[in-house]
């Protein structure tokens, strides 16, 4: 039972990192990016092929190095960011909103079919494998899994601290200002494309990082493991937790992952209909997205915005110091501003 929970929580932790990355792109910059799952997958692929060594006869893939795990993850993140810089440059330059989503939607499917059919890259449909554990020689099987869970938790915590810090920094506020009103932000001298582009690359980098963690967790990876539609689970997690609020996003990914894994365990899945369980799970995800969007789009822990447009986070310190009470969030403040709220 303990091992079972460790496995689920490890997965939730890894996807928490991914959700934080996606939330930067969608929650902060307002770009609904459907290709982020490809960055995650690229991170997994790169990490695996850089650690398992040369490909043997029927299996083929590029590189095939034997690097230390952590170095491989770092290189994977760099590769993912470089790749995202191409897609981002295309999709963010002039396209916004629905058009941005369409472009990334096309991109992720194009990448998916390319990886699936072009075997020299990542062994196509069969995928890459070669189970390895970064610390395997020194630890027993169970101890390794506890260690790896702790390692993932540590990574999530560090990423969370970084993202939280960035969220309340001038950069985070600027990105949100750009999201809320591009024209006003550019009037005030902000480079709209550059703000969105940097956020995009940062988010993609986090996706690559979570891919690197997932590689060590799963050990084998093929196109069936990263159907582009899987990204909806993450968007559901972000919606449940609270879009734009790092704390909410982490909470949401734990709720959705643990909740859904636990819930689908009790759905009867007869041997004759193995697709029933996953299908019901997807239906629930779809319902969750629609209902959250309709009835509580800001999630359990909403993003808090000060009247001056700054993003204010409830912090533990404020519980004790009783600093000045902040006004309630009013996201439409900017839009209704008589000076800059002219654009509908």
């Amino acid at each position: 039972m303990l091992q079972y929970w460790t496995a689920i929580l490890t997965e939730a932790t890894i996807f928490g990192v991914l959700a934080l990355g996606i939330d930067m792109i969608w929650g902060w910059a307002g770009d609904f990016d459907l290709s982020a799952y490809a960055y995650f997958a690229l991170g997994v692929y790169m990490t695996i092929i850089m650690t398992v060594g040369k490909a043997k006869a029927p299996v083929e893939y590029v590189l095939g190095w034997r690097l230390p795990y952590l170095l491989a993850v770092v290189i994977a993140v760099v590769v993912v960011v470089a790749f995202a810089s191409i897609i981002g440059a295309i999709a963010l330059r002039n396209l916004r909103d629905v058009y941005f989503s369409i472009t990334t939607f096309g991109a992720v499917w194009a990448i998916y079919y390319l990886v699936e059919n072009f075997t020299p890259l990542f062994n196509g449909y069969n995928g890459v494998f070669g189970l390895f554990d970064p610390m395997g020689q020194h630890l027993s099987y169970n101890a390794y899994h506890y260690f790896f869970f702790a390692f993932c938790l540590l990574v999530l915590f560090l990423v969370y601290l970084l993202v939280q810090r960035l969220s309340t920094s001038p950069f985070g506020r600027m990105v949100r200002a750009v999201r809320d009103d591009e024209r006003a932000a550019s009037v005030y001298g902000r480079n709209v494309f550059w703000a969105k582009y940097r956020t995009y690359l940062f988010g993609a980098g986090l996706a690559g990082l979570s891919g690197g963690l997932f590689a060590a967790y799963i050990g084998a990876f093929n196109p069936l493991d990263w159907k582009p539609t899987e990204i909806f689970v993450l968007y559901a997690a972000i919606l449940v937790g609270g879009r734009g609020n790092p704390r909410g996003v982490v909470l949401g990914s734990f709720i959705v992952y643990v909740g859904f894994v636990e819930m689908t365990r009790y759905i009867p899945s007869p041997a004759a209909r193995p697709e029933l369980g996953p299908a019901l799970r997807q239906i629930l995800i779809g319902l969750l997205i629609i209902l959250m969007l309709k009835f509580r789009p800001s999630g359990l822990l909403p993003e808090r915005l000060g009247t001056d447009g700054t993003s204010v986070q409830r912090s533990w310190r404020r519980w004790f110091t009783r600093s000045r009470r902040l006004p309630d969030p009013r996201p439409d403040d900017v839009a209704s501003d008589p000076v800059i709220g002219v654009e509908s």
């Binding site: 307002g30 609904f32 295309i90 330059r93 002039n94 396209l95 916004r96 909103d97 629905v98 058009y99 989503s101 369409i102 472009t103 939607f105 096309g106 991109a107 499917w109 194009a110 079919y113 390319l114 699936e116 059919n117 591009e182 539609t229 909806f232 968007y235 209909r273 697709e275 029933l276 299908a279 019901l280 997807q282 239906i283 995800i285 779809g286 319902l287 969750l288 997205i289 629609i290 969007l293 309709k294 789009p297």
Partner: protein, 304 residues
């Protein structure tokens, strides 16, 4: 199908044959893309559940084919009716509920709907592919092209539907109202046009066209799975954006161009990369002419 065609004819005519196949694909694509663009025109929504309406049409025809009749026309009619029902239900149950929200929220909601519908179909019909009992027909040489009776029938019916759509848009009250609503819903409403009802009827028409296109697609490729509409959705989006999103005639042109580009590119590489080419086409169009190639006027920055 392609290897067979290659063996039938020499290397010289491969270009013409693939062009002919491209026209057949383009015909179905045109119907699907026009439905997609009509939905965008009246509701200002990028309907990512569009592919599932096609799939519903295809499966409705399949059920009718296996359980009741082996009649082509009955199947086509059933597919159309169920497509119309699905379109109406989607509009009434989802799009209208999200009308006051941003286009992006509606897009995300349609993604959720797509997930739900696709998996309901998976539960209902299983993941294995099914096929109709209709024959592919015999090979026919028409000029430089090589078609089957089936592809000719598909193209003819697409032309007929496009013609009907032209009449609907230009010659009927509904078409006039539809064009008005797509320009400005509020203004149309205050001018006495029942906007809600017009939008609903448009979704029914778009759904009917999609259902019919789904049937044609299932007939042409021979197999249907619950995810059959998924790949076709991306092609429809590409055709619509490439031609001009929200403009039915421009979308028709975009679909024809995309169908030809894909089939010719697929001839010289592999048809597995069709969607990759489609994406390349989409990116090129978005970069050089984001409003669509058949829309006059200078290229504007596309912001919703």
């Amino acid at each position: 199908m392609e290897p067979m065609l290659r063996s039938v004819s020499g290397d010289m005519s491969i270009f013409w044959i693939s062009l002919g196949m491209g026209l057949a694909v383009a015909a179905i694509l045109a119907l699907s893309a026009v439905a997609f663009t009509l939905e965008y025109a009246v509701s200002n929504v990028v309907n990512l559940a569009h592919g599932e309406v096609l799939t519903i049409g295809a499966y409705a025809a399949y059920v009718s084919d296996t359980n009741f009749h082996q009649n082509l026309y009955v199947c086509a009619m059933i597919a159309t009716i169920f497509g119309a029902l699905a379109g109406t239900a989607l509009n009434f149950g989802l799009i209208e509920r999200f009308r006051n929200q941003k286009p992006l929220s509606t897009l995300i909601a349609t993604l959720g709907a797509s997930l739900i519908l696709q998996n309901l179909l998976l539960i209902g019909f299983g993941g294995a592919s099914v096929s109709y009992g209709f024959a592919q027909g015999s090979l026919l040489h028409v000029g430089p092209f090589l078609w089957t009776t089936l592809t000719i029938r598909v193209m003819l019916s697409a032309v007929v539907v496009a013609g009907l759509m032209y009449i609907l848009l230009q010659r009927t009250r509904l078409g006039k109202a539809l064009r008005a609503v797509s320009q400005n819903r509020e203004l149309a409403q205050v001018s006495g046009i029942p906007a809600r009802s017009v939008v609903m009827q448009t979704w029914a028409v778009a759904g009917a066209i999609s259902g019919f296109a789904g049937f044609l697609y299932g007939e042409t490729i021979g197999t249907i799975t619950p995810t059959v509409g998924n790949g076709f959705l991306l092609l429809s989006i590409t055709a619509a954006v490439g031609g001009g999103l929200g403009r039915p005639y421009a979308t028709l042109g975009g679909a024809v161009v995309l169908g030809l580009v894909m089939s010719i590119a697929g001839t010289y590489t592999s048809s597995a990369y069709q969607l990759v080419f489609a994406f390349g086409f989409l990116v090129v169009m978005l970069l050089i002419k984001p409003n669509g190639m058949f829309v006059r006027g200078r290229a504007l920055t596309v912001r919703a």
